[in-house]
């Protein structure tokens, strides 16, 4: 759109630019690491041309010469993200305020962000030579305190996704809106054409939740400009929660839960640790509440899918969706009616609403005493307990009723305002709702939408045909999407104006209200893309319509900065001048404070009348759930996530119909047998997975699979189960529908990374109940007497060790992805996982204990144990794997001949072999994502966890520079920094004061298979279950062999 400017540009504007140009880099005090580029004349030549050529027609040719890429970094970061010729000076600031527990190597860290519609995360992005290489936790951020999730760790790979669009595209349709052809188009031309259609008005903007205040205001002003309306929808939204809040308290809210303050947590299908909203924040707070074992939180889960929350529960009850309301109302009945507790005890309306639930326990098939205990437990901790429910499994015909019942319970227990924080809530960042979508569809059907702009949401993929969105879309003249690829939406849209990746973009995010984080671009847009915000601004600018603020600014950064000046600075400025404030924000990455609680509200008891009496149902009920690894499916094209084992089932590269053992026997189906499931008029073919601990009348399937236009990785993986969603009188129903199952006779193999599901009575994951632990700190542990024939080698200086607290680990798998991105570990695909060829350096073993009908789950991260007497080293004929004088078990890849004897002799089987030349498969620009500090292994060599030796080296050299000794916390492994629950602690075992030494000294700590005498440097700490049980202390583990649990094993 440069030619427009030449009309507008005045002399002094140009002068300004000229003056501005060189200083941009030279004056910048932030680019210490780029100094050498600044003095490189070649670089300056490049930079000049960069600045003159309009980024709007920035070179779109594919592929990047690496040197070229590096050369341009200086300029690029400065020009990062917003693409417009009128670019002024932009400064972005390294995360240079180094707190105790964040270790900076030579790399630079920038505050970044991750947002997938379920959790706004403030993170740090590690860059080297200007390349983003790793997502790290933001230790100072009040909500997550450094935690990350598997999906946020994988965001890096979506930046380097080879199938991202490399520039704007236009689709050519015939009048039937079919045989489309996608052609390239210049931004200028596209802008002109779009502006023309926008001028016709009747504009609608459909986006996913927009956690960014500045972006929200841009959209608002854009809508003003063209008389448009803004609709916010995405498939996994929390409108059920906010509707419930409105019904119960008359005000909209998506509460923040203070899990760290709760003593008793009851979850009714609210998978707050896994696939429901804000799992990282929740996991952090939840684990904080359990760290002090003496008064650890108790988690009670009523689970209709085997959720991650259920797997971490101290007490887990299997239910089916139609029973959710019964659980909540049953508990209320126990308290209000049976025990006559709380101010509601006298309320007749309440009594009548509850009377139907006197026999809840029987209906649920739960021992009435136990059920009463749960209620009692809640009451004893009133004001310090919480009941949560939500997520796809609760989106039944009764979803509103369930929310009301849960709110009622929290009001009974006086948790409202204390643990349930409705004031500093998530409603800003998770605002998407089904109501908006329905309104939009109405509008479209009635032809009131001429132009539809779709941003960061995918109604074509994530909605069932039956809803008729596609039909309605035909009524829309022009569709514009900002998809980064020709995805399901991009396929139907007239124009694709690809948005920048979040790492290429400026932005702000209001996580919980009153806590706003800011994120900076970490590299110049790889391709000819433009931020969504700037697109809106440019269109308004070209149409010359809309409020001044929208037209006045030349880049999104300017708008952002100004927005902060006007809207946020006054609130948080604390008398600083704005520039100082801005700098401090950029350095800290956020302003504001975490939720602090509020007073309780009065519950409107008449809401209880909206709860329909549940009908006793027989036969299978459907449960749809998002997985921890893929969520709504938008990140489907990231192989690392597809190959990340589901935390509970450990299955990769597929979705499947989970059935209980009993019902699978009834249906005579085995693991992998194909079944046809029918929901209403829709049927679908899925493989069966036999899931211990599932309700016999539940059939659970994951959403997020079956993409058709996401890219070569995601397309055709699994089935698109969004098609099973139904709509019943204003309710969107994901779960609880009747589902018919018929066996088809064919069979497929489900690829799992777990060979077996029982510990066979071995001491692998040591477990004890809280009662046992209070009696004996080493409960559940069978210590072995170990002796050696000779004294062994001495380790002076550092000796590295890793402590894993099984009581904190939730199995969320963030560490697995973190390790994979940090150490350039390849993904191999379903076919090879089936052959047992996955490459993960750290894996999370999941075992079931107890009987298969009510199996409990335990998680255990297993990485190289760096044994002092490493069995792998002794047998290597060429000394390719030997011991360092710091106690690490090192692997010299280039010396490895590949006999694989080490792997055979490793009792933990943590070694991975390069069966083929995986690095040959790597497409551009994925190679840019590789960590330059870690060798990319070739075919025929063995590899394994190195304790992130590159980080040890980096920490040591920076300590040397500051000429000081390494101190505890200087070195943090990738898995450790990713962990949202601080379950992993790395450090020097020779330093008695180090955290790891303290952990090792705990009576709970034990070495895995320590009786084998390998002297591992990794030690685990027993898992404590806070259930009233007293276990008959079994020496070796506490589980019984699970009949039929070996069904998942691959057969030759």
């Amino acid at each position: 759109m440069s030619h427009h400017h030449h009309d507008h540009d005045t002399e002094e504007m140009l002068a300004q630019k000229k003056a501005a140009r060189p200083q941009v880099e030279r004056s910048s005090q932030y680019w210490v690491n780029l100094e050498n580029y600044n003095n490189d004349p070649e670089f300056w030549k490049a930079a000049e041309t960069e600045f003159q050529s309009s980024p709007l027609r920035g070179e779109a040719e594919e592929g990047w010469a690496r040197r070229e890429f590096l050369k341009l970094m200086g300029a690029s970061i400065a020009m990062a993200s917003s693409g417009c010729i009128r670019r002024p000076i932009q400064k972005i600031v390294p995360y240079n305020k180094q707190p105790e527990d964040v270790t900076l190597g030579v790399s630079n860290f920038y505050t970044g962000a991750f947002y997938d519609g379920l959790e706004p995360l403030s993170v740090l992005v590690k860059t080297k030579e200007g390349r983003p290489l790793k997502v790290e936790g933001h230790a100072q951020f009040p909500l997550t305190e450094g935690g990350t999730s598997a999906r946020s760790q994988a965001a890096l790979m979506s930046l380097y996704d080879p199938e991202r669009l490399k520039g704007p595209r236009k689709n050519i349709f015939n009048d039937k809106r079919t045989n489309k052809d996608t052609v390239q188009i210049k931004w200028d031309d596209m802008d002109d054409q779009i502006v023309e259609v926008l001028k016709k008005g009747k504009v609608a903007v459909l986006t996913g939740s927009i956690p960014s205040p500045s972006t929200q205001s841009i959209i608002k002003e854009f809508c003003q400009a063209f008389g448009g309306e803004h609709y916010v929808w995405e498939p996994l939204n929390l409108s059920d929660v906010s509707q419930g809040q409105i019904a119960s308290y008359g005000e909209k809210s998506i509460p923040y839960y203070h899990f760290d303050l709760a003593k008793t947590i009851v979850s009714i299908d609210g998978d707050f640790l896994g696939a429901w909203h804000t799992p990282v924040t929740n996991s952090r707070k939840f684990s904080d509440g359990r760290r002090n074992l003496e008064k650890m939180t108790r988690l009670i889960a009523f689970d209709s899918n085997y959720s991650l929350t259920g797997a971490n529960a101290d007490i887990r009850f299997k239910i089916k969706p139609s029973q959710q309301v019964t659980v909540a109302m049953g508990l209320a009945h126990e308290l209000v009616v049976k025990k006559g507790l709380s101010q509601f005890a006298t309320n007749g309306n309440v009594k009548s609403a509850l009377e139907a639930y006197g026999d809840a326990a029987q209906k649920l098939g739960i021992n009435p005493e136990v059920f009463a205990e749960v209620a009692q437990d809640l009451w004893e901790n009133k004001g310090q307990s919480v009941v949560v429910a939500g997520g796809l499994p609760t989106l039944t015909g009764q979803q509103l009723g369930l929310q009301i019942a849960v709110n009622f319970l929290n009001s009974i227990l006086g948790n409202d305002g204390k643990i349930v924080d409705y004031k500093n809530d998530w409603s800003e960042s998770l605002s998407a709702s089904w109501q908006d979508l329905e309104n939009l569809i109405e509008k479209m059907k009635s032809g009131q939408v001429k132009t539809l702009i779709i941003h960061r949401t995918n109604p074509i993929y994530a909605l069932p045909e039956s809803l008729g969105f596609k039909e309605a879309l035909k009524k829309v003249e022009t569709i514009i999407t900002t998809s980064d690829r020709v995805d399901e939406v991009g396929h139907m849209a007239h124009y694709i104006a690809p948005d920048n990746h979040i790492m290429e973009n400026w932005g702000d995010i209001e996580t919980t209200s009153g806590l706003i984080s800011i994120h900076q671009p970490t590299l110049r847009p790889l391709w000819d893309t433009r931020s969504f915000q700037l697109s809106l601004m440019s269109w308004a600018y070209l149409a010359n319509q809309g409020p001044k603020r929208l037209l006045a600014y030349e880049s999104y950064l300017d708008y952002l900065k100004n927005y902060w000046k006007e809207e946020i600075y006054p609130k948080f400025g604390q008398g600083k001048n704005f520039e100082a404030f801005w700098q401090s924000v950029l350095q800290a990455g956020f302003v504001g404070t975490k939720p602090a609680g509020a007073g309780s509200r009065s519950f409107q008891t008449e809401a209880l009348n909206q709860i329909k009496k549940p009908v006793i149902s027989e036969g299978f009920e459907l449960v749809l759930y998002p997985t921890v690894q893929l969520g709504d499916g938008s990140q489907g094209n990231i192989a690392i996530l597809q190959e990340l084992p589901d935390p509970v089932t450990k299955i990769v590269w597929d979705n499947y119909a989970s059935l209980s053992m009993a019902s699978s026997e009834k249906l005579k189906v085995k693991e992998g047998d194909l079944v046809k499931i029918t929901v209403g008029s829709v049927d679908m073919t899925l493989p069966v997975h036999i899931q211990p601990g599932l309700h016999d009348q539940v059939l659970a399937v994951a959403v997020g699979y079956g993409r058709t236009h996401a890219g070569s990785v995601a397309n055709g993986v699994g089935q698109n189960t969004y098609q099973l969603v139904q709509f019943a009188k204003g309710n969107v129903v994901f779960s609880g529908q009747k589902v018919a199952v018929t066996k088809l006779g064919q069979r497929v193999q489900l690829a799992t990374t777990a060979g077996h599901h029982s510990m066979e009575g071995r001491q692998i994951v040591a477990e004890a109940t809280l009662k046992d632990f209070q009696k004996d700190k080493a409960a559940g542990l069978h210590k072995h007497h170990i002796w050696s024939m000779w004294s062994g080698h001495q380790y002076n200086g550092n000796k590295w060790g890793l402590a894993v607290d099984l009581n904190s680990c939730t199995g969320c798998s963030a560490c697995v992805v973190a390790c994979q991105t940090e150490n350039n570990v390849p993904s191999v695909g379903k076919a090879y996982v089936l052959q047992g060829r996955e490459m993960h350096w750290i894996r999370i073993d999941r075992y079931y204990t107890g009987d298969i009908a009510n199996a409990e789950a335990v998680f255990q991260p297993v990485m190289c144990q760096h044994c002092d007497n490493a069995p792998c080293e002794t047998v290597c004929p060429v000394l390719a794997t030997v011991h360092s004088d710091e106690g690490t078990n090192d692997m010299a890849y280039n010396r490895c001949v590949g006999t694989r004897y080490c792997s055979n002799n490793c009792p933990y089987k943590v070694r991975r072999f390069n069966w083929f030349n995986y690095r040959k498969e790597i497409p551009d620009p994925v190679h840019m994502s590789f960590n330059p500090d870690v060798t990319v292994r070739i075919r025929g060599v063995m590899e394994k966890c190195t304790f992130c030796i590159q980080r040890i080296r980096a920490a040591r050299s920076s300590a040397k520079l500051e000429n000081r000794a390494l101190k505890d916390g200087d070195v943090k492994t990738a898995c450790q920094t990713a962990c949202p629950t601080s379950a992993l602690v790395f450090g020097d075992m020779n330093d008695p004061k180090s955290l790891v030494s303290q952990a090792f000294a705990e009576p709970r700590s034990y070495g895995l298979l320590e009786e084998w005498g390998a002297k591992p440097s990794v030690r685990y700490m027993t898992k404590i279950r806070n259930n009233n049980k007293e276990s008959k202390a079994k020496a070796h583990g506490t589980d019984h062999a699970i009949k039929g649990a070996s069904q998942n094993e691959e057969q030759v």
């Binding site: 062994g792 080698h793 002092d868 007497n869 792998c872």
Partner: protein
């Protein structure tokens, strides 16, 4: 047997037992440089010809010891002196683990040197040495007396061989 091949006189037998007796006789008559040629090692031939016990076992022993010490020194030097490195938390000089290597080297040295000794003692290999009679490697036996042997007299030898049952006698140009 000198460098240069000598002529001499040979008798040929077809009966193993006769040739042994003949050898004993020839030996008794004081011949020292004579030799018997047989298709296979004939029982009692050494005694008959008065051949001393072969020295090869001494070679074997010495070579064996060399292999043993060599193996011991090499494993010790490489693992404990030249490149001491912590392998599986084991001592640098892990003697028990080195025994198999040392043992095999002992055998190898002993075996190969013994073969070498045979080659030396039998002057092998030789290129197409003269043959008295091609059947001597199949079913005939011979006694060959070189011209330089004490009391070498063809007539006398011929008569002697005939008496001892030789089926054929011949003068040999060189052997």
């Amino acid at each position: 047997m000198g460098k240069k091949r000598l002529g001499g006189f040979a008798g040929i037998w077809t009966d193993e037992h006769k040739v042994v007796k003949a050898c004993a006789k020839v030996h008794a008559l004081g011949f020292t440089k004579f030799d018997a040629i047989t298709p296979y090692p004939v029982h009692g031939m050494e005694e008959a010809c008065g051949i001393k016990r072969s020295p090869i076992p001494y070679v074997t022993f010495v070579a064996g010891i060399t292999g043993l010490l060599g193996g011991l020194l090499f494993t010790w030097w490489t693992s404990a002196v030249n490149w001491p490195i912590n392998v599986g938390g084991k001592p640098f000089f892990s003697l028990p683990a080195f025994i198999p290597i040392i043992f095999e080297l002992t055998i190898l040295f002993a075996a190969l040197s013994s073969v070498g000794a045979l080659f030396y003692l039998c002057k092998l290999p030789q290129v197409d040495p003269p043959v008295i009679d091609p059947d001597l490697t199949s079913h005939k036996f011979a006694i060959f007396v070189p011209v330089n042997d004490t009391g070498y007299d063809e007539a006398r030898l011929e008569q002697l061989f005939k008496e001892m049952g030789a089926t054929e006698t011949k003068k040999v140009a060189e052997f």
